[in-house]
Protein backbone atom coordinates (compact mmCIF):
# COMPACT_ATOMS: atom_id res chain seq x y z
CA UNK A 1 0.00 0.00 0.00
CA UNK A 2 1.37 3.36 -1.02
CA UNK A 3 2.06 5.79 1.76
CA UNK A 4 1.21 9.41 1.50
CA UNK A 5 3.09 12.39 2.80
CA UNK A 6 1.70 13.93 5.93
CA UNK A 7 1.85 17.63 6.66
CA UNK A 8 3.86 18.44 9.74
CA UNK A 9 1.55 19.11 12.69
CA UNK A 10 1.14 22.62 13.96
CA UNK A 11 2.91 23.43 17.18
CA UNK A 12 1.94 25.77 20.01
CA UNK A 13 4.17 28.44 18.55
CA UNK A 14 2.31 28.23 15.23
CA UNK A 15 5.11 26.54 13.33
CA UNK A 16 4.86 23.13 11.74
CA UNK A 17 7.37 20.47 12.67
CA UNK A 18 10.10 19.78 10.17
CA UNK A 19 13.51 18.17 10.20
CA UNK A 20 15.27 21.53 10.41
CA UNK A 21 17.76 21.73 13.25
CA UNK A 22 16.19 24.80 14.87
CA UNK A 23 12.77 23.22 15.14
CA UNK A 24 10.99 22.60 18.49
CA UNK A 25 10.94 18.87 17.78
CA UNK A 26 14.71 18.88 17.62
CA UNK A 27 14.90 20.61 20.93
CA UNK A 28 12.41 18.15 22.44
CA UNK A 29 14.41 15.26 21.02
CA UNK A 30 17.79 16.65 22.03
CA UNK A 31 16.67 17.46 25.59
CA UNK A 32 14.88 14.19 26.33
CA UNK A 33 16.16 11.39 24.13
CA UNK A 34 18.81 10.26 26.62
CA UNK A 35 16.33 10.08 29.50
CA UNK A 36 13.78 8.27 27.33
CA UNK A 37 16.38 5.77 26.12
CA UNK A 38 17.46 5.07 29.69
CA UNK A 39 13.82 4.56 30.68
CA UNK A 40 13.15 2.37 27.65
CA UNK A 41 16.27 0.29 28.29
CA UNK A 42 15.22 -0.28 31.88
CA UNK A 43 11.76 -1.37 30.79
CA UNK A 44 12.86 -3.56 27.89
CA UNK A 45 16.18 -4.83 29.22
CA UNK A 46 17.94 -4.72 25.86
CA UNK A 47 19.12 -2.16 23.31
CA UNK A 48 17.12 -2.95 20.17
CA UNK A 49 13.75 -3.10 21.89
CA UNK A 50 14.67 0.09 23.77
CA UNK A 51 15.44 1.88 20.48
CA UNK A 52 12.10 0.72 19.04
CA UNK A 53 10.34 2.10 22.08
CA UNK A 54 12.20 5.43 21.89
CA UNK A 55 11.29 5.71 18.21
CA UNK A 56 7.64 4.95 18.93
CA UNK A 57 7.62 7.42 21.82
CA UNK A 58 9.02 10.36 19.87
CA UNK A 59 6.92 9.54 16.83
CA UNK A 60 3.80 9.68 19.01
CA UNK A 61 5.09 12.85 20.68
CA UNK A 62 5.70 14.39 17.24
CA UNK A 63 2.15 13.60 16.16
CA UNK A 64 0.58 14.75 19.43
CA UNK A 65 2.75 17.81 19.93
CA UNK A 66 -0.02 20.26 19.03
CA UNK A 67 -2.26 18.68 21.67
CA UNK A 68 0.30 19.01 24.44
CA UNK A 69 -1.23 21.64 26.70
CA UNK A 70 1.81 22.24 28.81
CA UNK A 71 0.01 21.54 32.09
CA UNK A 72 2.44 18.72 32.83
CA UNK A 73 6.22 18.73 32.61
CA UNK A 74 7.42 17.70 29.17
CA UNK A 75 9.31 14.78 30.71
CA UNK A 76 6.14 13.55 32.46
CA UNK A 77 4.26 13.79 29.16
CA UNK A 78 6.99 11.78 27.41
CA UNK A 79 7.12 9.17 30.18
CA UNK A 80 3.35 8.73 29.78
CA UNK A 81 3.65 8.34 25.99
CA UNK A 82 6.50 5.85 26.43
CA UNK A 83 4.58 3.85 29.06
CA UNK A 84 1.51 3.57 26.83
CA UNK A 85 3.65 2.73 23.81
CA UNK A 86 5.39 0.02 25.82
CA UNK A 87 2.05 -1.49 26.84
CA UNK A 88 0.83 -1.45 23.24
CA UNK A 89 4.05 -2.92 21.87
CA UNK A 90 3.99 -5.73 24.41
CA UNK A 91 0.34 -6.46 23.78
CA UNK A 92 1.21 -7.10 20.13
CA UNK A 93 3.72 -9.73 21.19
CA UNK A 94 2.40 -12.88 22.74
CA UNK A 95 3.43 -14.30 26.06
CA UNK A 96 4.37 -12.79 29.40
CA UNK A 97 1.10 -13.48 31.18
CA UNK A 98 0.31 -10.70 33.58
CA UNK A 99 -0.19 -11.94 37.08
CA UNK A 100 -1.11 -10.27 40.32
CA UNK A 101 1.51 -10.40 43.04
CA UNK A 102 0.14 -11.21 46.47
CA UNK A 103 1.91 -10.15 49.67
CA UNK A 104 1.64 -13.62 51.17
CA UNK A 105 3.96 -15.09 48.53
CA UNK A 106 6.77 -12.87 49.85
CA UNK A 107 6.70 -14.07 53.45
CA UNK A 108 9.89 -16.08 53.92
CA UNK A 109 9.27 -19.70 54.77
CA UNK A 110 12.79 -20.75 55.72
CA UNK A 111 15.78 -19.27 57.51
CA UNK A 112 17.87 -18.76 54.39
CA UNK A 113 15.36 -16.44 52.73
CA UNK A 114 15.56 -13.44 55.04
CA UNK A 115 18.89 -12.04 53.88
CA UNK A 116 20.07 -11.38 50.32
CA UNK A 117 22.23 -14.14 48.91
CA UNK A 118 24.53 -11.76 47.09
CA UNK A 119 27.79 -10.18 48.23
CA UNK A 120 27.00 -6.69 49.59
CA UNK A 121 28.77 -6.83 52.92
CA UNK A 122 30.54 -3.53 53.58
CA UNK A 123 30.00 -2.33 50.02
CA UNK A 124 28.09 0.68 48.80
CA UNK A 125 25.44 -0.14 46.16
CA UNK A 126 27.68 1.43 43.51
CA UNK A 127 30.62 -0.75 44.54
CA UNK A 128 28.44 -3.86 44.67
CA UNK A 129 27.09 -3.11 41.19
CA UNK A 130 30.59 -3.07 39.73
CA UNK A 131 30.22 -6.83 39.85
CA UNK A 132 28.87 -8.00 36.50
CA UNK A 133 27.20 -11.11 37.91
CA UNK A 134 25.35 -9.05 40.46
CA UNK A 135 24.14 -6.67 37.75
CA UNK A 136 22.91 -9.62 35.69
CA UNK A 137 21.11 -11.18 38.65
CA UNK A 138 19.43 -7.87 39.46
CA UNK A 139 18.46 -7.30 35.81
CA UNK A 140 17.02 -10.80 35.56
CA UNK A 141 14.97 -10.23 38.72
CA UNK A 142 13.57 -6.96 37.35
CA UNK A 143 12.89 -8.52 33.94
CA UNK A 144 10.91 -11.32 35.61
CA UNK A 145 8.50 -8.83 37.20
CA UNK A 146 5.05 -8.74 35.62
CA UNK A 147 4.98 -5.65 33.41
CA UNK A 148 2.65 -3.46 35.45
CA UNK A 149 4.84 -3.89 38.52
CA UNK A 150 8.07 -3.43 36.57
CA UNK A 151 6.75 -0.17 35.14
CA UNK A 152 6.16 1.23 38.65
CA UNK A 153 9.50 0.00 40.02
CA UNK A 154 11.40 1.51 37.08
CA UNK A 155 9.61 4.87 37.26
CA UNK A 156 9.77 5.14 41.05
CA UNK A 157 13.04 3.54 42.16
CA UNK A 158 15.14 3.75 39.01
CA UNK A 159 13.94 6.98 37.37
CA UNK A 160 13.40 8.55 40.80
CA UNK A 161 9.92 9.99 40.19
CA UNK A 162 7.48 10.61 43.04
CA UNK A 163 4.46 8.35 43.62
CA UNK A 164 2.24 11.25 42.53
CA UNK A 165 4.13 11.70 39.24
CA UNK A 166 4.03 7.96 38.56
CA UNK A 167 0.29 8.00 39.30
CA UNK A 168 -0.20 10.78 36.76
CA UNK A 169 1.86 8.94 34.15
CA UNK A 170 0.06 5.62 34.55
CA UNK A 171 -3.38 7.02 35.37
CA UNK A 172 -3.46 5.39 38.82
CA UNK A 173 -3.92 6.64 42.36
CA UNK A 174 -0.88 7.17 44.58
CA UNK A 175 -2.21 4.38 46.78
CA UNK A 176 -2.21 1.94 43.86
CA UNK A 177 1.31 3.02 42.90
CA UNK A 178 2.60 2.45 46.44
CA UNK A 179 0.95 -0.94 46.61
CA UNK A 180 2.47 -2.05 43.29
CA UNK A 181 5.85 -0.63 44.22
CA UNK A 182 5.92 -2.55 47.49
CA UNK A 183 5.05 -5.82 45.75
CA UNK A 184 7.62 -5.15 43.04
CA UNK A 185 10.36 -4.51 45.59
CA UNK A 186 9.40 -7.63 47.55
CA UNK A 187 9.51 -9.66 44.35
CA UNK A 188 13.00 -8.46 43.44
CA UNK A 189 14.15 -8.95 47.04
CA UNK A 190 12.88 -12.50 46.99
CA UNK A 191 14.71 -13.19 43.75
CA UNK A 192 17.93 -11.89 45.31
CA UNK A 193 17.43 -14.00 48.42
CA UNK A 194 16.65 -17.25 46.65
CA UNK A 195 18.21 -20.40 47.99
CA UNK A 196 19.92 -21.31 44.76
CA UNK A 197 21.22 -17.81 44.18
CA UNK A 198 24.32 -17.99 46.36
CA UNK A 199 25.40 -21.19 44.63
CA UNK A 200 24.60 -19.75 41.23
CA UNK A 201 26.48 -16.58 42.04
CA UNK A 202 29.59 -18.39 43.23
CA UNK A 203 29.46 -20.77 40.28
CA UNK A 204 29.30 -17.81 37.86
CA UNK A 205 32.15 -16.00 39.59
CA UNK A 206 34.22 -19.18 39.50
CA UNK A 207 33.49 -19.54 35.77
CA UNK A 208 34.55 -15.95 35.09
CA UNK A 209 37.67 -16.32 37.21
CA UNK A 210 38.79 -19.34 35.28
Amino acid sequence: MASRKKSPPATPDGQGLSPSSSHPFDQLYRDHVDVMYRFAYRLCGEAEAAKDLVQETFLNAYRAYDRFRGDARVSTWLYAIASHACQRMRRKRKGEPERELSLTEFVPTSEGEFALQIPMEGLSPQEALENKELRQILDRAIAKLPRKYRMVLVLRDMEGLSAKEVGNILGLTERAIKSRLHRARLFVRKELSGKGLAEEFHRDVATVDR
Binding site: P19, D34, R42, V54, L138, R185
Partner: protein, 99 residues
Protein backbone atom coordinates in the same frame (compact mmCIF):
# COMPACT_ATOMS: atom_id res chain seq x y z
CA UNK B 1 15.24 -12.54 101.33
CA UNK B 2 16.85 -13.27 98.02
CA UNK B 3 15.49 -11.48 95.03
CA UNK B 4 13.00 -13.58 93.31
CA UNK B 5 13.94 -14.24 89.77
CA UNK B 6 10.96 -14.45 87.52
CA UNK B 7 11.19 -17.19 85.01
CA UNK B 8 9.08 -17.57 81.95
CA UNK B 9 8.24 -20.87 80.36
CA UNK B 10 10.13 -21.41 77.14
CA UNK B 11 12.73 -18.65 77.63
CA UNK B 12 15.57 -20.70 76.26
CA UNK B 13 17.74 -19.57 73.38
CA UNK B 14 15.84 -16.96 71.35
CA UNK B 15 14.66 -18.28 68.05
CA UNK B 16 12.96 -16.49 65.22
CA UNK B 17 9.35 -15.58 65.69
CA UNK B 18 9.44 -16.30 69.40
CA UNK B 19 7.95 -13.87 71.89
CA UNK B 20 5.40 -12.52 69.47
CA UNK B 21 2.98 -13.82 66.95
CA UNK B 22 4.10 -14.43 63.44
CA UNK B 23 1.17 -12.43 62.12
CA UNK B 24 2.86 -9.35 63.56
CA UNK B 25 5.73 -10.07 61.17
CA UNK B 26 3.28 -10.13 58.26
CA UNK B 27 1.73 -6.86 59.45
CA UNK B 28 5.19 -5.29 59.55
CA UNK B 29 6.16 -6.78 56.19
CA UNK B 30 3.12 -5.10 54.62
CA UNK B 31 4.40 -1.70 55.67
CA UNK B 32 8.14 -1.96 55.07
CA UNK B 33 8.25 0.04 51.83
CA UNK B 34 6.19 2.82 53.43
CA UNK B 35 8.58 2.63 56.40
CA UNK B 36 11.65 2.90 54.15
CA UNK B 37 10.04 5.76 52.21
CA UNK B 38 9.21 7.60 55.44
CA UNK B 39 5.51 7.68 54.73
CA UNK B 40 4.21 6.44 58.09
CA UNK B 41 3.15 8.30 61.21
CA UNK B 42 5.57 8.48 64.16
CA UNK B 43 3.36 6.15 66.16
CA UNK B 44 3.37 3.40 63.53
CA UNK B 45 7.12 3.83 63.00
CA UNK B 46 7.62 3.32 66.71
CA UNK B 47 5.52 0.14 66.65
CA UNK B 48 7.58 -1.16 63.74
CA UNK B 49 10.87 -0.30 65.44
CA UNK B 50 9.71 -2.07 68.60
CA UNK B 51 8.86 -5.16 66.56
CA UNK B 52 12.19 -5.05 64.73
CA UNK B 53 14.03 -4.88 68.05
CA UNK B 54 12.23 -8.07 69.09
CA UNK B 55 12.50 -9.97 65.86
CA UNK B 56 15.94 -10.45 64.31
CA UNK B 57 14.54 -12.01 61.17
CA UNK B 58 12.33 -9.01 60.42
CA UNK B 59 15.36 -6.75 60.99
CA UNK B 60 17.34 -8.82 58.47
CA UNK B 61 14.39 -8.77 56.10
CA UNK B 62 14.17 -4.97 56.33
CA UNK B 63 17.92 -4.67 55.62
CA UNK B 64 17.59 -6.90 52.61
CA UNK B 65 14.67 -4.83 51.27
CA UNK B 66 16.62 -1.62 51.84
CA UNK B 67 19.61 -3.08 49.96
CA UNK B 68 17.32 -4.19 47.12
CA UNK B 69 15.89 -0.68 46.75
CA UNK B 70 19.38 0.86 46.80
CA UNK B 71 20.61 -1.55 44.15
CA UNK B 72 17.68 -0.59 41.90
CA UNK B 73 18.27 3.10 42.55
CA UNK B 74 21.94 2.85 41.61
CA UNK B 75 21.73 0.43 38.72
CA UNK B 76 23.38 2.31 35.83
CA UNK B 77 21.81 2.11 32.41
CA UNK B 78 23.72 2.22 29.12
CA UNK B 79 23.68 5.49 27.18
CA UNK B 80 22.71 5.93 23.55
CA UNK B 81 25.70 6.47 21.23
CA UNK B 82 25.91 9.68 19.20
CA UNK B 83 25.50 7.61 16.04
CA UNK B 84 22.36 5.85 17.32
CA UNK B 85 20.92 9.14 18.53
CA UNK B 86 21.26 10.68 15.05
CA UNK B 87 19.99 7.53 13.31
CA UNK B 88 16.92 7.36 15.55
CA UNK B 89 16.12 11.01 14.87
CA UNK B 90 16.25 10.40 11.11
CA UNK B 91 13.99 7.34 11.43
CA UNK B 92 11.45 9.23 13.55
CA UNK B 93 11.24 12.14 11.11
CA UNK B 94 11.01 9.76 8.15
CA UNK B 95 8.18 7.80 9.82
CA UNK B 96 6.45 11.05 10.81
CA UNK B 97 6.42 12.21 7.21
CA UNK B 98 4.36 9.17 6.15
CA UNK B 99 1.10 7.75 7.35
Amino acid sequence: MADRVRTYPGTRKPTPHQGHRKRNCVKVLERLSAYLDDELSGEICQEIRAHLGDCPNCEIFLDSLRQTVRLCQHRPSPALSEKDRAALRRQILKAAATV
